[in-house]
Symmetry: C2
Subunit: 640 residues, 2 copies
């Protein structure tokens, strides 16, 4: 157990209690104005809504069964769930009666679809009713349930409407009877984790501990022997060895979770599992889970994570390969996986603020997850390479449309990742123009207003507005990269070296209306080098400014971006505000460029290329491919 | 038409007329002692021999029909053909009555299998007899015929036995009736080229021009409109648009061949086509074909070729992608494709010696084709990456076993690529310990003995042994890389600047028994840089010595080869002869190495890695993965 171990229980502030402006306000506007509706339109076009409408005949198998034994159609409920969740968050920001009415109609359909016993799943009620609970390893039933639960909680919080929440409580109550070690019960868990974290949300909003207990059951059972997936396959008449993913590592079910030390398998599954584990660790103050999670965190962030917070380099298993294997041009780095890393990191803060988690949360949020959405909210990246020869572009949709609603729900709920509250403590994990309303343990309401142009500028000012003067601790993250950060309260400078604990400046005092905190985070341009074991980044440098990874694009720099060479010592950088990229700060740097024009005819020769001066423009990686399409590069050549 | 255009007609010396020692002798021994027999054993195990045995029932579809509409089983005849061809060459070097008897039995089976009309194809006689000539685009019928023709020629030359040659003449005679623009004839050609070059071999050994004419017909028809593949699909009731390869570029049938300027599609197909075109250009002195070939040659060698002479970077089409797209770790660079490039280059020498072709022939031979064979002759590379993280190893066999017999037949027939003869001229294209017997136009027999430890050492000595004093030109290639080469005849130094034409030292004189030529090719270590447009080689250097590309392997240098950094100016190199690698010359160089040990825990940091001195050992690329398995790297980091 590390020294940073905490015994507090922080919970995120509810989405409707944080109002965003500035950077995140613009992204939320894009989702509210375009993505939320687009998601529902695409779900309708794909046949998902028709599929749950019991007044229509069964859709049958619209998308063929794939070699892994299922079809993406099996998890249409999850796509609808995440879309409803996005709509819920969007309605809070931007009322949209038409969209709300469409969501209500879908919820009505789910009400009619639900079985008397509480079971609910479009595929296993309407297409393969005889397969219910037959193949938890591959069939995503509990995964779908989890996403509908998350939708239910969000829709209830945003609209006050309980119908979907009640539906999902009935389903969860039914699950409690189905799963367990009792006579006739299933001692199993889902191949694709998600239900675990969803049940925690359900427990928190309903106050029902039974849902926590079911979540904990799924986590405790995972990977134990005799192995459930093996027994289940035998019961179902399948050969357990005939598993296309070959190893239970694919779904992190190869070992009991508390024994797992290496991050393996399908990246999204891993992140969802660890998120659920972290929630249960917080809720039960379960040190054995926290210890496993700390080992896994180290494993991921020191051996398997792109500088963008992208994870899971391989398309073959949508997941992890070998340590330090981080190919840039073929990076899978699924948007959903970085969204999942944000989930996990956020939940690692449940037992107390620690920038070890929050810094990575921010890194993955800005650079791993956010690239998944175009600035107009209308197109999406599924995979996120760190280098493109010019052919990688956002999709209007995807045959497996998991990423669009995932990034959309994250963007619209970002406020709940920024602020968290424990009994007598408020933590600010992320910076951005916003106003948060919170309630302390003694019932005191506190409003915290954050004024900033972050991440473009590093000055952040807060004004506190407790309903009456109140003593509590305010913990503000000081990112590890923010060398020379400074902090003052009502004009008086604080000694950060004395007040920073686990990377957070902790200010415990009586706060009164109008108290003002000023934080300055220097946004120096930072060259970043990779461990020499990362063969794909050898001889290369990436640039970061604040939390943002930068890249070069052909539209600013012409083709052959790999011919650009940065000097060992960076020259003074210029900055330009790009209005066509949401006011992003671009960086201009005098560098050199290898000369392909005067190279001559042979492909190979005895002398390296000559060089000419080049003024390179760098833009934030998350904004690439929002202008003219072309090459893109994060890791650049550097002289050393 | 370039200035190098020649009007001579060079033909390769027949395989049995060159006896190899030294470097190539060892490789031929490996094939004679292991590979030749292994090939036949594997063909038997795969069911290929049973498939042609009419005394047994039809094999049926042993390998399932693939999405492209066929199965590799469809071209089992080609695997048998190339295996018989290899056996033929091996018998000349090393008599093996058992192996010869096995080949004879296969040939007997083909005799029994052949239809009365001359048609011969295991699949379309025994498995799908109703599909004969129905889908030339996908079905490889003429491709199979081509390989059996090459086998027939080789077996006849090596053993004097005519049976297979007669069989294939009957088949070719039948083809002449089948293909053409006459009533009821097929105005088509094969999707996978090969028959074109095979018919030229058949014409040369039989003296029958009709086979040349058929070859020229296939070449002239290719890619013309109305498009044969489109018409054929319609006739066969298939939708021409439903072509899994999407474009006729896949088989170089997108344009008439004389209009083609860009090397596209499946790499092996392209090489076989261009080989056939070059043969026809030589035989017919067809300048329009030569002009197209020169453009294609430039296109390939200045924009699309690995430094190893590997070609076709992508697995998806087993072929070409975009200009300058040469990924190292995922390089497909099929062994067969480099074998094909050797074929093509060799045939570009048909109209006269030109090192523009012969240098690349040598480059592709040593570094693109030869890696396909283990030094013991018992294992094979199919694809040839220029970087491996440690998991790429030779196969004992492959589901598509085209490469093993292809490299084996090339190795055993290498003598015919070394020497060529025109009327009154002998050309030496490749160096290596050997004795060649040739006949000039006037009937004079000349024996040329080449004594050398090339490619390990650069000293090459020849003794001429004409049966009587004879005036002829001896053309010796001076490789472009051999700066400072020197040449003497009977001790008298020649002025190379005056006697070199198109990269060949042309010595025209009366040669007498015992005349001695001494050639010295300095084997300096040569750093090689890639055009800056090759993004994958940016900031990197490869080392060559003579014709050989070198690499580093983990077994000599430990893991993390990408951490090795070469200095801008190479220090003096040491050399070591490695007895366990066929006496290869290894290169030892004092370089630096980034230090992963003292890097610390984070994956990324503000400072580049420190460095420590490292003694790097480089071995010839073609010999990698012959010792302990592990990482391998060709393009290394370099300071500039």
């Amino acid at each position: 157990m590390s020294k940073t171990m905490k015994d507090r229980q922080f919970r995120p502030v509810a989405v409707p209690d944080v109002e965003l402006g500035g950077f995140w306000g613009k992204w939320q506007d894009a989702v509210c104005q375009s993505t939320a509706e687009t998601l529902l339109d695409r779900c309708v076009e794909a046949g998902m809504v028709r599929a749950i409408d019991v007044s229509q005949p069964s859709p049958g198998i619209v998308i063929p069964i794939q070699p892994w034994g299922g079809t993406t159609q099996m998890f249409w409920d999850s796509d609808l769930g995440k879309s409803i969740e996005t709509i819920a968050y969007s309605l809070y920001r931007r009322p949209n009666p038409d969209l709300e009415a469409r969501a209500d109609r879908i919820i009505d359909m789910y009400e009619k679809l639900q079985d008397k016993d509480g079971y609910l799943n479009a595929w296993f009620q309407r297409v393969q009713p005889d397969h219910r609970w037959k193949n938890l390893r591959d069939h995503h039933e509990l995964y779908c349930a989890g996403h509908l639960i998350e939708a239910a909680v969000a829709y209830y919080q945003a609209t006050g409407k309980r119908k979907l929440l009640d539906i999902m409580c009935r389903f969860a109550d039914y699950m409690i009877t189905v799963f367990g070690h009792g006579e006739g019960q299933i001692p199993g868990y889902c191949g694709h984790e998600e239900i675990e974290l969803a049940l925690v949300k359900l427990a928190r909003v309903t106050g029902e501990k039974k849902y926590l207990d079911l979540s904990k059951f799924f986590i405790d059972e995972r990977g134990t022997e005799p192995h459930f997936f093996t027994e289940e396959a035998r019961r179902d008449g399948r050969d357990p060895a005939n598993f296309i993913q070959k190893t239970y590592e694919y779904g992190q079910a190869h070992q009991p979770v508390r024994e797992q030390k290496k991050v393996v398998g399908h990246a999204v599954r891993a992140m969802y599992l660890y998120s659920g584990m972290a929630d249960i660790a917080t809720e039960y103050k379960d040190d054995s889970l926290t210890a496993a999670l700390e080992a896994l965190w180290d494993d991921l962030t020191t051996k398997q994570m792109y500088i963008t917070g992208g994870i899971g380099p391989a398309a073959s298993n949508e997941g992890f390969t070998d340590y330090y294997d981080l190919p840039n041009d073929t990076a899978y780095a699924e948007t959903c996986a970085s969204v999942g890393l944000v989930f996990w990191a956020s939940r690692m803060l449940g037992r107390g603020p620690d920038r070890r988690y929050a810094d990575v949360m921010e890194q993955a949020l800005y650079n791993g997850a956010l690239p998944g959405l175009a600035i107009d909210g209308k197109a999406f990246f599924y995979d996120n390479p760190l280098e493109s020869a010019g052919k990688h572009h956002r999709w209007k949709w995807h045959h497996c449309p998991c990423c669009p609603p995932n990034i959309a729900r994250l963007v619209t709920s970002i406020g709940s990742y920024m602020y968290a509250v424990a009994e007598d403590e408020v933590a600010v994990h992320l910076y951005g123009e916003s106003t948060a309303r919170m309630k302390l343990a003694d019932g005191t309401r506190v409003e915290l207003r954050q004024m900033t142009n972050y991440p473009w500028e590093g000055a952040v000012a807060f004004t506190a507005k407790p309903e009456r003067p109140a003593r509590f601790a305010l913990s503000l993250r000081i990112p590890e990269w923010a060398k020379g950060a400074s902090l003052s309260v009502n004009g008086a400078r604080l000694d950060l070296s004395a007040s920073v604990i686990d990377g957070y400046a902790r200010i415990e005092r009586e706060w009164a209306d109008g108290d003002r905190i000023e934080l300055d985070l220097p946004l120096e341009l930072r060259p970043q080098y990779a461990n020499p074991k990362v063969r794909q980044d050898a001889g290369r440098v990436a640039l970061m400014r604040g939390p943002l990874v930068y890249c070069v694009e052909a539209t600013d720099n012409g083709e052959d971006l790999n011919a650009i060479v940065l000097p060992r010592n960076l020259p003074a950088a210029g900055t330009t505000v790009l209005e066509d990229l949401n006011g992003a700060v671009a960086i201009d740097l005098a560098v050199e460029r290898e000369d392909a024009q005067n190279w001559g005819k042979p492909l190979y020769r005895d002398e390296p290329a000559g060089r000419r001066p080049h003024k390179a423009r760098f833009v934030p990686y998350h904004l690439w491919d929002n202008r003219a399409p072309g090459e893109m590069l994060v890791w650049m050549q550097v002289d050393r």
